[in-house]
């Protein structure tokens, strides 16, 4: 039955997309994060579902949906430049075959981030993108969260839907980071969603349940990244809250409740290694790997191309009475070192500019809409996206997710929102100056539905 249902959802994107082409792009987001081909074993494993959806998304946009394109702003230029630069680094890749393999999916992730602001332009479209993005990821968060609440989680245990495939959110630290990053967005959706039916109590309960599942999921992975993520999440949310004492009390109660239910002595032992990283082999090899990367880029300032970590050799000293050993091909375990090692100092500079620019755009939205009752939703969405991106950026210090679609969706969302606000301001300015252009707006703009 589940095979049939998932296939029905997949084909629904094509049917509904015929009347609203942006739905095809939603379909691509779903395929890219939910991975229906790994969740089911029916028809969808037999056809190139991602390729077909990508063709539909691009074709749908160019043939029927090229309205109100965004300004080709600095963010989009930087993302495009990054895509070009990562392609150029292939020419001096230290492991060419594997570099080409990673380029195949990484290039798509980066390029799709440029496409996103062209497709998702109105409030409804941006929200639909967020919801499809979230529910695709929630297919991992919910089962992990529920299983953690019932039986406790465990380090290295994959409790999500995707088993046996090292893709997307199947990595525990990444799962924890993404689950926490979505929490501010869920808080926003609880209050401002246009798409989820406005039934106050059921909607409140649904989003509250999803937040609990996300938190339990992040703790159940036993990833130390989760603790960093929660700290980065709580500080801005507390600063932004109007009732700071109430927020602090609720956060404390929720925190204690979740920790009591979802954690165990094994979890405490695992998390306590944050303070003794030099005695924990997993944490210590990461530090050695980062040192190796610095040495590597000292000799290769333009990077070693995708998957250059495969030539790494690190010597692990004896720890806790265990003998030392030599490890080859250790992953970077840090997004910034990943980009640095693979694409050198120019790549890292562009990448950091992209990230900070996205944070800046979210902040710009907050500032420009702060005193506008009609755009209060945009202001709050800007705050939520800024916090989410900060969580991802902080957690990425321990996970190599520089080219994962989930990260690039978080980067692209503030661009969509800033462009929305720019369109609203542009049209208001045109009306203010008494524009006589026959193409001038005849009705409320940019998705300003009630």
């Amino acid at each position: 039955m589940r095979n049939l249902f998932v296939a029905l959802v997949y084909f629904s994107f094509f049917i509904v997309g015929a009347s609203a082409p942006f739905i095809f792009a939603l379909g691509y987001v779903w395929v890219d994060t939910f991975y229906p081909q790994y969740v089911t074993d029916g028809l969808l494993t037999q056809i190139p579902i991602s390729f077909l959806m990508a063709i539909a998304a691009i074709g749908g946009y160019f043939l029927a949906d090229r309205r109100s394109p965004p300004k080709f702003n600095l963010s989009l230029k930087l993302i495009l430049l990054f895509a070009v630069w990562t392609t150029i680094t292939l020419s001096w890749a230290v492991v060419p075959a594997d570099a080409w393999f990673k380029w195949g999916w990484a290039f798509k992730s980066v390029l799709f981030a440029v496409f996103i602001p062209y497709v998702f332009r109105t409030r409804v479209q941006i929200e639909a993108f967020i919801l499809v993005f979230y529910f695709s990821c929630a297919a991992t968060f919910i089962p992990t969260g529920l299983k953690t609440l019932m039986n406790g989680g465990g380090y290295g245990m994959n409790l999500g839907l995707i088993q046996g495939h090292n893709v997307g959110l199947s990595e525990s630290s990444f799962q924890a980071a993404a689950a926490i990053a979505f929490i501010p967005i869920l808080v926003y959706l609880r209050e401002y969603s246009l798409i989820i039916p406005p039934l106050k109590t059921p909607r409140l309960m649904m989003f509250a349940g999803l937040i609990v599942a996300d938190l339990a999921c992040s703790l159940g992975t036993f990833a130390r990244t989760a603790i960093i993520g929660v700290i980065i999440l709580v500080i801005p949310m507390w600063l932004q809250s109007r009732r700071k004492i109430l927020f602090a009390l609720l956060a404390a109660v929720a925190g204690v409740g979740i920790l009591t239910v979802a954690t165990s002595p094994a979890w405490e032992n695992r998390i306590s290694t944050i303070g003794t990283y030099n005695k924990d082999s997993s944490a210590y090899t990461r530090i050695l790997m980062w040192m190796w990367t610095l040495k590597f880029v000292g000799e290769h300032p333009l990077g070693g191309g995708f998957n250059s970590h495969e030539i790494s050799v690190i010597e692990m000293p004896s720890l806790n009475g265990e003998p030392g050993y030599v490890e080859k091909g250790r992953a970077f375990h840090n997004m910034y070192f990943e980009v640095l090692g693979e694409h050198g100092f120019p790549g890292l500079a562009i990448f950091l500019l992209i990230l900070f620019r996205s944070l800046m755009l979210a902040t710009q939205v907050v500032r420009r809409t702060r005193n506008r009752p009609d755009l209060v939703w945009a202001c709050n969405l800007g705050k939520a996206l800024r916090t989410s991106l900060m969580v991802m950026m902080a957690c990425a210090n321990f996970i190599g997710i520089g080219f994962q679609p989930v990260l690039w969706y978080f980067i692209a969302l503030p661009i969509c929102l800033r462009e929305y606000v720019r369109r609203v301001e542009r049209d208001e300015l045109a009306v203010k100056h008494g524009a006589t252009d026959p193409a001038a707006p005849l009705a409320p703009l940019a998705g300003s539905l009630p």
Binding site: F5, A20, I23, F34, L131, S136, I195, D427, A439, P441
Partner: protein, 62 residues
């Protein structure tokens, strides 16, 4: 069991979102967002059709 229910719930929500989003998107005056005068006129006519002879032509007089 949990896995199957999760698939049904999350995929069901995705289905709901795409249907509702398409519906809300159609209600919006798209062509008012930087579309051409011709398209805007045609769109408004379709939403509120006037007499046949007032139907916008392919090249409306400015």
């Amino acid at each position: 069991m949990i896995d199957t229910l999760t698939i049904l719930y999350t995929s069901g929500m995705v289905l709901l979102v795409l249907i509702k989003a398409a519906q809300l998107d159609r209600q919006m005056p798209w062509f008012a967002q930087g579309g051409t005068a011709k398209k805007t006129a045609r769109y408004n006519w379709r939403r509120n059709p006037g007499p046949a002879d007032e139907r916008p032509t392919e090249n409306p007089t400015p």
